[in-house]
Amino acid sequence: MADIQQDIRPSRLHRAWNSDLGWSFRHAPVAVASTFVVLLLIIGAVLAPFIAPHSPFDPGSLNLMNGFTPPGQANQFTGDYFLLGTDDQGRDVFSTILYGMRISLFVGFAAVLLAMVLGVTLGLLAGYLGGWTETIIMRVADVQLTFPAILVAMLIFGIAKGITPPEYRNEMAIWVLILAIGLSDWVQFARVVRGATLVEKNREYVQAAKLIGRSPFAIMLRHILPNVLNPVLVIATISLALAIIAEATLSFLGVGAPPTKPSLGTLIRIGQEFMFSGEWWILFFPAATLLALALSINLLGDWLRDALNPRLR
């Protein structure tokens, strides 16, 4: 008799689709639209080598004669056609955007992952252990909050650049960028997780786990962590947009991704030089892509926050 019931249990995927969250997703056009945009951009970035019509960073394939081709027109000298035009070097803007998004998204995801792991770990420890551990972790967080995140990131970037040997600087730039943004962003994860942990640790199931003799780390990982992940998910989504923007800002200021491996921010920096000379597309398309990416992720984060908040249902 027991197995009969087992058989009619729907699969996990099906249960997720039919869950409240799945229902709420299907009934939120904004969420569906932004997921579509984000997925489109991510797929474009991941498949850049296959989709991009040109390879913009292969000097051999560039033709300076193609420089400053406006979007949607054939070049007047060579007759080559570029969907979104070219920059001063004759690079295809569409292709540079696809490659630029790879860098932006990679840095964004990696930085958020770093911030999340660091922040969640420290937040759990602070909330559960309390005492000196908590005081030290949270005071460090408070001090860091008094500086704007971008300033902290620049500081870390500057220090890291100073201690890397010059010959590795360009290769290391991406990793330094991830480190800088990740370290500047862990505080909010830590704060939220600490707060949620303070609530969860007084729940009776945690007391019960203590009572059966589980070690503090087992309790934190198995019982508390899964129960504080909801807010973490929301913050991670919104942080992703912020990290991508932070990366763009740093790159725009010239301290981020190098021109040999440009991110969206680097492209915008390059493009703004031509803004007043009529070649608007070199700036406009990378900026529009960044806007679409950040906006969609933010909208998705907003929806997720509302959907996971029982009080707003």
Binding site: A208, L211, I212
Partner: protein
């Protein structure tokens, strides 16, 4: 009664230091629980019932702490154990059933996971064996089709079923002592009776000592062998449940009995004990109950507070009520 009691609490004092002085939520409490026996602990909110239970299992939250007295588990003092030793001992020997089955199960783990976790922590058995034991434990507490429900999450159960799971969880590591902290308070009446009966049967069958903390005299009358009545952190009365219910010695116990609503009572006004329990920081002189006691005399106030030892051993009262007649109090 000749064996070493499973749990023996000796002159237990729990103190909380505050800005306004030291509070004593548990003051000089002593009792024993034998194997297979259910001791009911009753009292109003704030009488120190739960605090006593938490002190016994070592779950007191700072700054509350045990300042004197002993907690003996099978004759072994445990009140000073810390860290690893405490973890190992209390998990193996003690189980706890909490008030709210809603929050005493982890909402994100299946009940099977939670049961096997507990079983494997204490009995060195493999995954399959733990799973079988979990199913057996669920069947024992009366969960139908336990085998198919083991992968369900707590929210897929009703309140009463969930409390059964909690009981299975408390008993699956085969403890000697179970502390049930208001196990029926969050349940509706028909389910309460089932849970009480279940608890009673399980501890009889397994010879588990149970400390049943509640404010419901009906539950005590139904399940307990002996009852300890607490008032303002002290024991007011301690005795066999039949005797305490039919012939309370302490006026407070009598008042509690009289203020239990009965369906057969009709529209008669419910009796109540006038006043409220004093705040711990502001206990009256002498007997803590005297301002609310109908039988209080001047000496109740002048003399130091009565204890079980200084009185007749059953009620902490200088003028215990009559032993033979069912008492009429508050009239």
């Amino acid at each position: 009664m000749t064996d070493t009691p499973v749990l023996s609490v000796r002159n237990l004092v729990v103190e909380i230091p505050t800005r306004h002085g030291v509070l004593r939520p548990v003051d000089n409490v002593s009792y024993d629980i034998q194997a297979g026996e259910i001791l009911g602990v009753v009292g109003e909110s704030g009488a120190g019932k739960s605090m006593t239970g938490n002190a016994v299992v070592g779950l007191l939250d700072s700054p509350a702490r045990i300042t004197s007295g002993e907690v003996l588990l099978s004759g072994q003092p445990i009140q000073n154990l810390r860290g690893e030793a405490l973890r190992r001992l209390r998990g193996k020997k003690m189980g706890m059933i909490f008030q709210d089955p809603l929050t005493s199960l982890n909402p994100l783990l299946t009940i099977g996971d939670q049961l096997t976790e507990t079983i494997q922590e204490h009995l060195k058995v493999g995954q399959t064996e733990a799973q079988e034991r979990a199913i057996a434990a669920l069947e024992e507490v009366g969960i139908p089709a336990a085998r198919s429900r083991i992968d369900s999450y707590p929210h897929e159960f009703s309140g009463g079923m969930r409390q059964r799971v909690v009981i299975a969880l408390a008993l699956c590591a085969e403890p000697d002592l179970v502390i049930a902290d208001e196990p029926t308070t969050a349940l509706d009446v028909s389910v309460q009776a089932q849970i009480v009966a279940l608890l009673k049967r399980l501890c009889r069958d397994r010879g588990v000592a149970v400390m049943l903390v509640t404010h419901d005299m009906g539950v005590i009358a139904e399940a307990a062998d002996r009852v300890a009545v607490m008032y303002a952190g002290r024991l007011a009365e301690l005795g066999p449940v039949r005797e305490v219910i039919t012939a309370a010695h302490h006026p407070y116990t009598a008042g509690l009995m009289a203020s239990t609503p009965l369906a057969s009572q009709g529209k008669e006004r419910l009796r109540q004990i006038p006043g409220a329990m004093p705040r711990l920081g502001n206990l009256p002189d002498g007997c803590a109950f005297h301002p609310r006691c109908d039988y209080a005399q001047d000496s109740c106030r002048a003399n130091p507070g009565p204890t079980l030892d200084t009185c007749d051993g059953r009620a902490a009262c200088w003028f215990p009520l009559n032993i033979k007649e069912k008492s009429e109090v508050g009239a």
